[in-house]
C-alpha cells in the first residue's frame, strides 16, 4: 500500500477533487500559510508517496490517539489517517502479538531512513519493567526505531515533557522522548491531550514540505504553540478590566468572566486552544467555564495547584515567616544588648569636659 501515491489513493477512496482542494486550503490556513499555498500543497500531496508512519505508545493513557480519532464527521484528522500508511499503532491496528511486531520490523526495514516515528507516552528509566512491549523496554524500542526515522514527533505532554508519569515524585523515572533521542530534532506536540487537528497539522506539514515546521525553544511548532491562551482568549477583556469569577458557578462565572482567580494558567501556556478550539471548533476549557490547566507546558502537574491563581506562591509561608521573626528577634536582641552596653560604657566612662579640653596640647 505504501507505494501508491496519495493522489491515487484518494481517488480510489472516492475523495472528490473539490474535497481534496478544500482539505489542502484548510491545511494552508491552519498553518498560517498564504491561501495560494493551498494549490501548492495539493500538488505536493497528490504526488507524494504515502509515507510510512510508525507510532510507538509508551507510558500513556491513549488520550492522544483518542483526540486524533474522535471525529463525528470527515475531518482533516480523518483524512490524514487515510493518507499516511500507519504501519504500526497499538490501538488502531488490527494485528496483535508477534504478527504486529513483525509488521513493525518489516516496515522499519523497508522504509529505513524514510518513516515518520510518532511517539506518545513517557519512557520509564527507573525500571524497564514499568512499561514494555513484547518484552522490549520502551527505551530500547525507542532507540532502535529512532535510528531509521526521518522525523520524530513526540505527541502529547508525556512524550514531549514527561507528562503525568513524571509528576512528583516521578516513581517510574519517566522522561521525555527528547531526552533519549538527541541525535536528531524531535518535534514536540504537547497537550494533555493535544488538539486533534494540531497533531494532524504537524503531520500534514511534513507530508507537504518534507520538513518539520519551525519550532520554538521547547521544540513545539510555532504555528500552533506561538501564542499563549491568554493572548488569544475571548475573555481577555474581562481580565484587563478586573472582572473575575470568584468561585465556580457564581454570578461572574455565569456571566463568562475571566477565570484567573480560579487558577487559569492561560498566561503562561502556549497552545492553540483559544483559537482552534476542540471538537471542530466547538469549545475549549475556558469557554466551558474551567481555567486552563497549562497542559502543553512542562511539569504542569507540579506548578502549584490548578485552582491557585498564577501569582500565588507555591510554598506556604506561615512557618518560614514565623521562624524568620524569631531569628530576627534573636539577632536584634543580641545587637541590642551590645548596643546598650556600648552606650552605657561610653556614658559611664564620661570624662567631664573642662576648658582645657577644648584645645589640643601641642
Amino acid at each position: 500500500m505504501a507505494d501508491m501515491t496519495v493522489g491515487a489513493l484518494l481517488r480510489e477512496r472516492g475523495v472528490s477533487r473539490r474535497t481534496f482542494l478544500k482539505f489542502c486550503t484548510a491545511l494552508a490556513s491552519l498553518m498560517a500559510l498564504p491561501p495560494g499555498m493551498g494549490g501548492a500543497i495539493a500538488r505536493a500531496v497528490e504526488r507524494a508517496r504515502r509515507p510510512s508512519v510508525i507510532w510507538l505508545s509508551f507510558q500513556e493513557c491513549t488520550g492522544c490517539t483518542e483526540s486524533l480519532t474522535r471525529s463525528a464527521t470527515p475531518t482533516v484528522e480523518g483524512l490524514i489517517l487515510d493518507v499516511i500508511s500507519l504501519d504500526y499503532h497499538h490501538t488502531l491496528q488490527a494485528a496483535s502479538g508477534t504478527a504486529a511486531e513483525a509488521a513493525r520490523e518489516q516496515a522499519m526495514k523497508e522504509a529505513f531512513g524514510h518513516y515518520v516515528l510518532i511517539v506518545d507516552g513517557s519512557i520509564p528509566l527507573g525500571n524497564a519493567g514499568y512499561s514494555t512491549i513484547a518484552g522490549i523496554s520502551n527505551a530500547a524500542l525507542l532507540a532502535e526505531a529512532a535510528k531509521g526515522a526521518a522525523a520524530v514527533v513526540a505527541v502529547g505532554s508525556c512524550a514531549s515533557f514527561g507528562g503525568l508519569p513524571a509528576a512528583e515524585p516521578n516513581p517510574t523515572g519517566a522522561v521525555a522522548v527528547s531526552q533519549l533521542v538527541t541525535d536528531r530534532p524531535v518535534v514536540n506536540v504537547p497537550g494533555c491531550p493535544p488538539i486533534g487537528v494540531v497533531i494532524a497539522g504537524v503531520v500534514a506539514h511534513y507530508l507537504t514540505f518534507g520538513t518539520v515546521p519551525e519550532l520554538d525553544g521547547l521544540g513545539r511548532p510555532k504555528v500552533f504553540y506561538g501564542e499563549t491562551i491568554h493572548d488569544r482568549c475571548y475573555r481577555r477583556t474581562f481580565y484587563d478590566r478586573g472582572m473575575f469569577a470568584e468561585s465556580f458557578d457564581d454570578e461572574g462565572a455565569r456571566k463568562g468572566w475571566c477565570l484567573y482567580k480560579l487558577g487559569c494558567k492561560g498566561p503562561v501556556t502556549y497552545n492553540a486552544c483559544a483559537t482552534t478550539k476542540w471538537n471542530a471548533g466547538t469549545s475549549f476549557p475556558i469557554q466551558s467555564g474551567h481555567g486552563c490547566l497549562g497542559c502543553s507546558e512542562p511539569a504542569f502537574w507540579d506548578v502549584g495547584g490548578f485552582y491557585n491563581a498564577l501569582s500565588v506562591t507555591t510554598i506556604p509561608l506561615n512557618k518560614p515567616t514565623g521562624i524568620a521573626l524569631a531569628a530576627g528577634a534573636a539577632v536584634g536582641a543580641a545587637v541590642a544588648i551590645g548596643n546598650r552596653k556600648k552606650q552605657a560604657d561610653a556614658r559611664k566612662g564620661h570624662q567631664t569636659a573642662t576648658l582645657g579640653d577644648l584645645e589640643k596640647q601641642s
Binding site: 481580565y239 484587563d240 478590566r241 498566561p267 498564577l310 500565588v312 506562591t313 541590642a336 548596643n339
Partner: protein, 221 residues
Amino acid sequence: MTVTSMELLLWARGPGFEAAVVIFTLGMVWRLIEIFSLGRKPDLSLPRERAGASGMNTVFRRFLFPPGMLRRAPVTYLGGYVFHIGFGIVLLFFIPHIELARGVVGFGWPGLPTPVVDLVAVITMVTLVVMLVSRISDPAKRLISTFEDYLTWALTLAPLLTGYLAYHHLLLPYQTMLAVHILSAELLLVAMPFTKLIHFVTVFPARWYNGDLFGHKGVPS
C-alpha cells in the same frame, strides 16, 4: 543541563519567594530592634502643651509640603509623590498582585483595570528617570548621593520595568520575563532592611520623634 523558563519561574514563585520573605522578615525585625535599642533619655524640662504639636501630628503633617518649599524644589516634591503613589498603585492595585497577597495573608481587596495600572507604571518609570537626572544634576543631591542611592534606584526600577516588559511580551519569552520580574521583586525585598529603603518603615518613628521633640516645646512641626 540548562534551566528551562518554567523551572526558573517555579523557583522564583517557590523557594525564591520563600527565601526573600524570610530574609526580609528577619532583617526588618533585627534592624528595628537595633535602632530602638539605643533608647532616649527622658526630658526633665516642663513640657508646653499645644494642640497640633505632637509626634503623631508630625507623622501626618510631614506628608504635606512645608510652607514656601514647593517652589524651591518642585521636581523633588512632585517627583517624590508621583513615584511613591504610582509605585503603590502598581504594587497594590494590579489584580495578579492582589491575588498574590491573598495567597500570603488570606485576604484581598478591589483592584484597578490592568490598562490603568499599565499607564501608571509607565508614568512611575518616567518619574524615576526624572528623579535620577535630578539626583545627578542638582549640586546638593549629587554631593550627598552614594553608591547605595544609585543601587536602590535600580532595584526599584527593575520590578516596574520587568513587569511592564512581561505584560507586553517584550524582550524575553513571557515565562522567562515573568520569572525575571518576580526575581527582581525578591531582590528588592531582600535589600529593604539593609539600605535606605528601610525608610518605608522608619519614616514613621523618625517623624514621631521629630514631632515629639518639637512638641515638647509646643511647636507644631
